[in-house]
Structure formats: structure tokens, C-alpha cells
Symmetry: C2
Subunit: 249 residues, 2 copies
Amino acid sequence: MATNFDNYFKSAFTVDNVIFGFDEGDLKVLLIKRGEEPHIGEWALPGYFVRTDEDLDTAAQRVLSELTGLTNVYLEQVHTFGSVNRHDFGRVITISYFSLIKIANYTIQPSSIALQAQWHTVNDLQHLAFDHDAILEACLQRLKWLVKTRPVGFELLPPKFTLTELQHLYEAILRRDLDKRNFRKKILSMNLLVDCAETQEGVAHRPAKLYKFDRKRYNKLVAQGFNFELKESRLAHKKDLPEASMSHL
Amino acid sequence: MATNFDNYFKSAFTVDNVIFGFDEGDLKVLLIKRGEEPHIGEWALPGYFVRTDEDLDTAAQRVLSELTGLTNVYLEQVHTFGSVNRHDFGRVITISYFSLIKIANYTIQPSSIALQAQWHTVNDLQHLAFDHDAILEACLQRLKWLVKTRPVGFELLPPKFTLTELQHLYEAILRRDLDKRNFRKKILSMNLLVDCAETQEGVAHRPAKLYKFDRKRYNKLVAQGFNFELKESRLAHKKDLPEASMSHL
DNA sequence: GCAATTAGTGTAAAAAATGCACTAAGCCCC
DNA sequence: GGGGCTTAGTGCATTTTTTACACTAATTGC
């Protein structure tokens, strides 16, 4: 593709994708073990160059589906990182995205990049390659905000889930404990959950009811300008964070 | 600067800056009348190519100061727009920023770009060049969110201001009327305003007290994790938006 | 001094958030 | 088959926050 712009102004562009999943009560992120320099052997976010004839969102989707086989998942641009020296081999500007997927739907792809992919629990990560620590942090902040603003939880959960699973998901993202009764009251008052009239099986205790999200109803409410604001403090059990204790402002 | 990356992956990139100001009760944005193709004669956001040895934030600051002579103002990255066909002459990816300035401090600069600059009231804008309508809209949304989250109003107001001026600023950004008593109660309860012990002069009615923001106190509170959340509905006078009427969720 | 204009102030009612503890249902093991 | 273990599920009273609302105060200009 020919352009009229002098090469002086050009740069390489990549997308980096923070792929979140939820499993065993933990928020997870899918990382790649780098097989080449620079930062060989280190864990990094999956990403790749943006082709010159490819839109940014398309590139992010491509990275995601090459890695996970999934399309049609929640995907959102977060921030662009472009420090002159962030890449060892020259200037590379990266546009970061995050996506939310159901780990159960994830199937390892035969691509060379995917073979080195592994889920990591967000809470016990080592240092990542390049400036990927900062990218991940930005995406975590965005996810935290998102979850308080829109009920996106169902993007990370299997189609049928229990209220306790949903609560654990919120707790993992918000990094705080929530009160069970208040959480249920709030979530059910949104009228977005449908009782499947089924219960859990194979658990060594009282089985919980299964719910699913009514995505139609959700879309309708969003279209009407419905706001799902869940203030952090609204679901709080204890004032265990300094900001919470001043939330009356 | 040499890189190891094939030219195939490279693209031109710019920063575009939505510079907000506030004057005569209206939210304003500083636009440039384009003097060259493409889109000659149309109004556009000020922006320019990012130098290959320049960080993105630095480039945005440079655009701002070349245009307004101002440094040290509120500046924040918003979103990156990179549709393949957004620029007529080739692929150009643009990273958008917005900044908040005090119009009174603005002095027209002798640069050629600044000579074509003009303030426009956000509420009655025509179509802008390129995809700048979308960029402006994204920045407006971000500003709306910001103003509900942090008391950034003082970035747009003169050092001394009345509570009514501050309220008008909020109303312009949130695009809704607010109740005077509730607004004052909420703002003053934040303990961020200092009474200057002065009053307005030269007005044909009861003069209002002048206040200023205590930036030191603000910084201290932010550092402590203080959250300035101002739900839209919290300052509402009337439920004039559909979302407000369902804000109990 | 009076008309016009904007500043400034309090309270009561409704809604939302919070804190808290017991019973229910199923599994497992003996 | 009974008792222990584990997690599910549920209500209410208190506190905090939000909301709605109308009059008096101070100044200018005529």
C-alpha cells in the first residue's frame, strides 16, 4: 500500500491482548512464553503486528482467534503504549486490548504461538516481558471499572452458573470480599438472571440453583440507557480499603 | 533511527488533541481550519505527526503548546483510531488526547497552525474533517466520566470562581440541569474549596462569593485513595434522562 | 426607593446501603 | 440410617445518601 507520507514519520504497530478468563475462583490471564529474542523465555501478552491493510480491532480479533479459536467475544481497546524505548529492536507502538472469554470454550490451537500459551492466575504473576506489566495493570483497572458499570460477568462464566460463582468472580475482579445477602439482593434486583430450574450436581453439599444471563433483556436495557452502576461500596461487606471508608463523598 | 522491522508493518501515526475550554457558560473546543488537502477548508482537531524519537504524551504536549503556549495542563490519552481508510492519503493511525485549559490563559501563538485556530461551542458544531467527529465524541464521553470521578473543574475555570460558575460548568459537561442547593451541599462537603473572602465585582445583582480550589488538599486526598465519585443522579434536579430514572440499580 | 436580578440557605421524605445469624439441603462416612 | 460436614439460601433494622422544594438577602440601575 502506497502512502504520501515520508518514512520519517512511520512506526511499527502491534496489538497486545490481555485475555481474561475465570477458573477455580481465580481471575486468569493467557500468556505466551517467548521463544525468541528479545526477552526470550519470559512470559508476555499475546500480540502481533497490525497489517497495514487491517483495522486495529480486526487485528486484535485475529490475535485472539489464532490463539484461542474463539470469535465473537467481548473485546475492548484500552490504551496505547508508545514509549520510544519500550521495544529493544526499534520503535514499536502497541495498542492494548482486553477480552473476556469462557475458559471452558477455549481449545488450544495448532498455531506455533498457541502451543506456548498458558493460563496464569493474575494474583501471582512474575514480571512480564517488555512493558507488559503496565499493560496488564491498565487492563485490570479497566475491567474493574467495567464490572462496576455493566454486568459483564457472564462473558467469563459458563452459560449456567450459581450465584456463589458469580460472587466469587466479582470478588476476584474487585479484590474484596462481598456480603452474600447484599450481593444477591443487588444482582437479582437487576432482573437479568433467569432461574434455570436446575441445580448443581456432584457437589458434596447442598446444591445451588443454576442461573443464566438473559442477554436479550440485557441488550434491551442497555439500548434504553440503563445504567448498571455497582459502586464498589454498594456490595461491600467490610470497609477494608481506605477508599471505601471515605466513599460517602 | 534504525529498526529491524520490515516496512510492511509500518504506518504513519499522529496525535489529535481535543482541547477543551469553558467560557460564557459553554463548553468549547479549539479547532483548526484546514489550509490544505485533504478536507481543505473544513474544521479539524489540532494534531500532528509524532516524531519517531518522541513519546506519545510528549507529542500531544507539543501540539498543545505550539497552539496555545500552555504547558503543565491536564492532558490524558483517550483512544486510538486506526481504520484503514480514515485518512485519504494513506494509512494514518491517530492517538487521541484531550486537555483542559483555562481560556483566559490562552494566547494565540505565532505558528502558522495557530493562526487558523478558533474556539467553537461544543453544542453547535458542524461536521469535522476526517473521523474527528468520532474522536470528539469519545473525548466528550471521557470528560463526562472524569468530571463525575474527580473534581477537575478547576482546570477549566479561572483561579477564583463562584459556585454558580462551577455549577454551570458541570451542567455544560453533563448536559443536564442540577439543583442549586444539592450541588452546593455536595461540592462543599468535599472540603476542597477555599473561601477567598472576596466577592464578585461589577455585576448588577447580589455579588457572589469567590472560591478557589485547594490543589494541595486535592493532591493529598487523591494520594490517600479518596474517591470523588459524583454520580450523575446525585446532582440531578429533575429526572430528565431515561437512565436517571433507573439509577437505583 | 423600588424593580430586577442572582446569591444563598434547611428540612423532610424516600431510596439505597449496610451489617448481621440462622435454617435448609445434600453428601459422606461410620 | 444417623450424624457431621459443607455450602445454599434467606429478612430485617439501622444508617447513610439522595432527592425535592421556596423563600430571604444583597446589590445595581432606574
